[in-house]
Amino acid sequence: MYGINMAKGFLVTLKNFTKKPFTVQYPEERVKQHPRFRGEEFVWYEERCTGCASCAKYCPLGIIEIVTTPSETAPAQGDKYRLELFDISINRCMFCGLCVEACPYDALYMGSGFEQGQYSRKEMVIDIDHLRQADKHPSTFFRPQLEETGYDPRGGRPLHWQDVGREGWQWHQREKMGMRIDRPVPADLIPSDPPVDSSFVEDSPALSASKIEGDAE
């Protein structure tokens, strides 16, 4: 009989008419992300970072900018290099997570936010101070050690740098110890004249050029 299948279809819609909607009314209610969610904003642990710039090299878009200087004050904190600049232009970021995958020291993590829109492009560049002060709610993307603990980035407590990482933090401390400038250096590796930092001061051509480039973004 003509129309019998249409009647069947209308029965389906009638059945669904009485059901609760499947959609979520977004600003009032939110869907909880999964722990592996790749989102804003990046969680960075300065204590773990050695400034190797693996993340910057591995980023397909080249939006991570890292400048390190051989430092004279940093050895007091146990480092040979000091991070001058760690900029992530999040406005061009596509959240592929390759920087997190490339980080050998588990210093960089994805975040789990998705609603950090800004009114100006300048605010979309996350600089080192911002990364230092940000809440540490790392996503478990590419970090199985976080998954094993059952940690949930949404609603869990912020994680200290000693809580995260494939290797224990003691291992990492030892690793950083190896980078100390005051360890015995073979005589043939010591340069004849001490390294001069003058090429890295604020108004040096190298740094200001990169700054202009950053601003042009």
Partner: protein, 368 residues
């Protein structure tokens, strides 16, 4: 005195909701009847092939996500197969199963969207589309659990997948399979044999088999014309050689058959997913490959898969560097689009949009 009439040329698109992206059709009408069709594309060109020449082999995976953005997983798979052939890497068993499983889930999601938009073009005002989206949403949730993203997945890597599924993925997948049977049965009852759909699509825009083969049309569009060509059967990759499934075919080659074949393929895909869940065994999920890959100079490879739209292939040539010398994408949507003129000429304006919907093109893939 006879009324003087003349043909009229109308531009559909480039920005039009029913052109599935930025696609322009310059159509000449005689009243309602189509006299001439000229498809114009290239509005979404992003230079993926050129961009690939300055990215390393792993970074290109993120570019492939953006080709056919409703079936990223299958794009990743095709690209990774090409690079693995280039490197001669053996993929671990578990990774093969995970790839097969996710690719089939993605095929379901893509077909649901294709069907939904096809029916919306037909004038169903979103009801079947929303039914499809309800199930697709759950698949995207599974993907989010798996790799942290919903659309631009980048889950696969040359040598396997980037990580094993989390523990709570498997119960969620079981739950999804359980729900999906009910939901899909509802969708079938709602629309598959609906008389209005039948009247509007049966016998409209017939694609004969010989033309389909000559135009190297592939995927559901070809199978609706009567061929059972499917790379999953003809040259099994990943874990498809261990899967038991059928290739649904139809003989009409009209709009309804293309729609029907997609509906049946969803059933088969779910069958494959179930078999993957049964057969998968613990093990490594990624071969031991370095982050920066350097294939031997002069090697080339052609990785092809049966994507949701047809045969998707990546041709990669290496010059020994960290990025390919050349990467060519054979995208099914572009090739399927070449028969547009044949399908449309002689039919009415109201069938034009429906036919375009039945081809299930994706402009991200056409323009690359």
């Amino acid at each position: 005195m006879p009324i003087h009439t003349e043909p009229m040329t109308v531009n559909i698109g480039p920005q039009h909701p029913s052109t599935h992206g930025v696609f322009r059709l310059r159509v000449t009408f005689d009243g309602e009847e189509i006299l001439e069709v000229e498809p114009i594309f290239g509005y979404l060109h992003r230079g993926t092939e050129k961009l690939a020449e300055e990215r390393n082999y792993t970074q290109i995976v993120t570019l492939t996500d953006r080709l056919d953005y409703v079936s990223s997983m299958i794009n990743n798979q095709a690209y990774c197969l090409a690079v693995e052939e280039l490197l001669g890497v053996e993929v671990p068993q578990r990774a093969k199963y995970l790839r097969t499983l996710t690719a089939e889930l993605q095929r379901v999601a893509s077909h649901l969207m294709g069907i939904g938009f096809f029916l919306q073009d037909l004038g169903t005002l979103g009801t079947p589309l929303m039914y499809g989206f309800r199930s697709r949403e759950k698949i995207l949730d599974l993907f989010e659990m798996l790799c942290g993203a919903r659309i631009t997945l980048s889950y696969m890597r040359p040598g396997g997948v980037f990580f094993d599924a989390p523990d709570d993925f498997w119960p969620a997948l079981d739950q999804f399979l359980e729900d999906f049977d009910i939901e899909f049965e509802e969708l079938e009852r709602l629309i598959l044999e609906n008389e209005i759909v039948m009247v509007r699509t049966r016998g409209v825009s017939v694609l004969p088999l010989d033309l389909a083969i000559n135009a190297s049309v592939s995927g559901p569009t070809l199978r609706a014309s009567g061929s059972d060509w499917d790379w999953r059967k003809k040259a099994p990759y990943d874990a498809y050689d261990r899967m038991d499934f059928e290739v649904p075919t139809a003989t009409g080659g009209d709009n309804y058959d293309r729609f029907w074949v997609r509906m049946q393929e969803i059933r088969q895909s779910i069958r494959i997913v179930r078999q993957c869940v049964e057969q998968i065994e613990p093990g490594a999920t990624r071969a031991e490959v370095p982050l920066i890959l350097r294939p031997k100079p002069g090697t080339e490879s052609y990785g092809r898969v049966e994507a949701s739209k047809g045969e998707l292939a990546f041709y990669v040539v290496s010059d020994g560097g960290i990025s390919p010398y050349r990467m060519k994408v054979r995208s099914p949507s572009l090739i399927n689009l070449t028969v547009t003129e044949h399908l449309l000429v002689g039919w009415k304006l109201s069938d034009m949009i429906v036919t375009l919907g039945s081809l299930d093109i994706n402009m991200g893939e056409v323009d690359r």
